[in-house]
């Protein structure tokens, strides 16, 4: 072995890191730009430069009121929800080594939806109570999935199939509840089910922020293990990873992220599903590409919400309509490609 060989290795490692870093910086700038634009547009348009000034403590009182009081909570909710969904999708897809395994394809968000609709329709609840039900629904669904998929450890394949099955059951429960509901209540539940950022306030931001403060350090710790888990169970065992412990920890983090995001904004479809693959393509990273996925989640939600709010004149759509229009074709592309190469994903 020569110094030259070591140099080659260090060089290759640095090249990978540099590319990721560049992508992260560019994405962060884009996300911030979209964030500012979304704060500037509305019934009363504010120049973007004034928005930036206001965010950093300048600006007059009127702008400050509009930006910080009226628009900031909604924009921040969108930002955090998107990030959470992107991260959750990246973890799920890496654990399962399958791009179909995102929380909105396997049952997690469907379970959250069924519980939330139950809360809205049957119990007549609103607001925070519905969010709480959604979180309980997501966690319970994930728990049932994990237990059913367990046979001397959890295989990714079983987890996905069982997840899709449980998703179908949860969806039919949701439909049943909706058919039993009065029309106005059903309408309210449907809006929740599409995923919307309308009327989000600081309480949403707060619960999301607390989740992030708690989960981000845990996630930073587990990412190293996720990179090993990606090599398959046997290789991971061989490298000294406690595979089941690591996988359970990662699933818990991913489920909580998806649950809290869904609780805050409803099941915004396809964000967790499309963000990580795009992130991996941009960074050319074989790893989970967590930071990039989180940023892309924020970008997708931010951009979709801008479109949903302002692209159709007077009509304002829920953000989930737009993410669905973007995400569904990608799902079809993925299934078609999986069929063609016979890889199942």
């Amino acid at each position: 072995m020569t110094a030259e060989a070591v140099h080659v290795i260090a060089q290759a490692r640095r090249a990978r890191q540099t590319r990721s870093l560049v992508v992260i910086v560019v994405l962060a700038v884009v996300v911030f730009a979209i964030f500012c634009v979304s704060l500037s547009l509305g019934d009363f348009n504010i120049p973007v430069i004034d928005v930036v000034k206001t965010l950093f403590g300048g600006g007059d009182r009127a702008t400050e009121f509009i930006v910080n009081r009226l628009r900031l909570p909604r924009a921040l909710t969108g930002l955090l929800v998107g990030t959470a969904l992107g991260l959750s999708g990246a973890i799920f897809q890496s654990i399962a080594r399958n791009p179909l395994a995102s929380p909105d394809i396997i049952g997690v968000t469907y379970g959250a939806s069924a519980f939330a609709v139950f809360a809205i329709v049957t119990l007549g609840l609103t607001g925070v109570a519905v969010s709480a039900f959604a979180i309980v629904g997501a966690v319970l669904t994930a728990f049932i999935m994990y237990v059913l998929a367990w046979r001397h450890g959890v295989s990714s394949y079983r987890l996905i199939l069982i997840g899709i099955g449980i998703g179908a059951i949860a969806t039919s429960i949701t439909s049943y509840l909706l058919t039993k509901a009065r029309v106005e209540i059903a309408q309210q539940a449907l809006i929740w089910l599409t995923g919307s950022l309308n009327g989000r306030d600081w309480s949403n931001v707060r619960s999301l922020a607390i989740t992030f403060v708690v989960l981000l350090p845990v996630m930073a710790f587990l990412v190293r293990q996720l990179r090993i888990l990606q090599l398959g169970d046997e290789t991971a065992y061989g490298l000294g990873l406690r595979v089941e412990v690591a996988r359970l920890g990662l699933i818990v983090v991913a489920v909580l992220l998806a649950a809290v995001a869904t609780a805050a904004a409803g099941p915004i479809g396809f964000v967790a599903f499309v963000a990580p693959p795009i992130a991996r393509r941009l960074t050319r990273s074989p790893g989970p590409a967590m930071i990039t996925s989180g940023l892309l989640g924020a970008l997708v939600v931010g951009l979709s919400d801008l479109v949903a709010q302002h692209a159709f004149g007077e009509t304002q759509l829920p953000v989930g309509v737009v993410t669905g229009v973007v995400g569904a074709p990608y799902l079809m592309f993925l299934l078609a490609r999986a069929n063609r190469v016979g890889s199942g994903g």
Binding site: R97, T235, G238, L239, G240
Partner: protein, 301 residues
């Protein structure tokens, strides 16, 4: 080994009264074995005889229902798995890698048991990766995605990943199965290099008996989850043992290249009348080289 030097490796691997299997199906019922330190051990046997099961149990991938696997005299299940990973490396039969991963990145992940969350990547890690990639001759393809490599190159990369762990013991489950003949020998020659250069203990499962004799110092022949014969190739690979283990009638002749036992299957449709009656040295050598080239691999039958 040609010059029998005192092995510098201290690690030892053994199984004592081992019973192990999958779910309810027990494959191995009561097996005890000592893996010779600093040697290449090859486990052979027919399909479903339990040879991969034994390897997986030795690598602590399967938990024994009775008995123990002993690493350095201690039960391997009692040692923290990360500590085991610094003494014993493993190459599964068909390892999977994330799409688009480059050679250097994959080999680098072999450093996992040697790094901590707190103690991040350092120069010594780069050195270990560089050394692993140099000895497997994959340094020149460090930046290539492994999906683009040939089967032989890919297998060398996986071996490099296991080497980056810097373990004294290396277990490989059928490392040549999906390779063509050239690449099979390339991988096996590499394993001999690794064994000789640092007295690594190597255990592998092979299908090809002639390769097992050529490359193994120590052979373990298994049938129905038990060891039928054990020892150096000429002790283990006899016509009787092969008949017993594989249920195949064979002739065993000396390998014209290495002198190790060489198995020539007889089969149902071959009789002495079909072959040239003159058993000239030339004809014998031709038949032998055909067998050595894998034309008559027992596993194909």
């Amino acid at each position: 080994m040609e010059n029998p030097v005192e092995p510098v490796t201290q690690h030892s691997l053994a199984a004592d009264g081992l019973a192990v299997g999958y779910d309810q199906r027990e494959i191995i019922h009561d097996l005890s074995v000592r893996i010779p330190t600093g040697k290449i051990t090859v486990i052979v046997g027919a399909n479903a005889c339990g040879k991969s099961t034994l390897l997986k149990a030795l690598a602590r991938l399967l938990k024994p229902s009775r008995g123990t696997v002993l690493l350095d005299g201690k039960s391997i299940q009692q040692i923290p798995t990360r500590e085991v990973a610094t003494k014993l490396g493993l190459l599964p039969q068909s390892p999977t890698a994330p799409e688009g991963i480059t050679v250097a990145d994959l080999v680098g992940r072999g450093r996992y048991p040697r790094t901590r969350w707190i103690r991040q990547w350092s120069r010594s890690d780069d050195e270990a990766v560089a050394e692993a990639m140099t000895s497997t001759d994959v340094l020149s393809i460090a930046d290539r995605p492994i999906d683009e490599l040939s089967g032989g190159q890919r297998q060398r990369v996986w071996i490099a990943m296991a080497l980056a762990q810097e373990t004294d013991i290396l277990l490989l489950d059928e490392p040549t199965t999906f390779l063509d003949l050239t690449h099979q020998f390339e991988v096996l020659d590499l394993l001999v290099d690794l064994n000789r250069s640092e007295d690594r203990t190597i255990v592998l499962v092979l299908h090809d008996l002639n390769q097992a004799c050529r490359f193994g110092d120590h052979l373990i022949a298994m049938k129905d989850g038990a060891i039928v014969a054990e020892g150096n190739p000429s002790q283990v690979i006899t016509e009787d043992v092969v008949q017993d283990v594989f249920g195949l009638a064979v002739k065993v002749v000396p390998d014209p290249v290495a002198g190790t036992p060489m198995v020539v299957p007889i089969g149902r449709h071959t009789s002495a009348q079909d072959t040239p009656t003159r058993t000239s040295p030339v004809a014998a050598a031709l038949a032998a080289s055909a067998a050595a080239n894998g034309v008559c691999r027992p596993s194909d039958r």
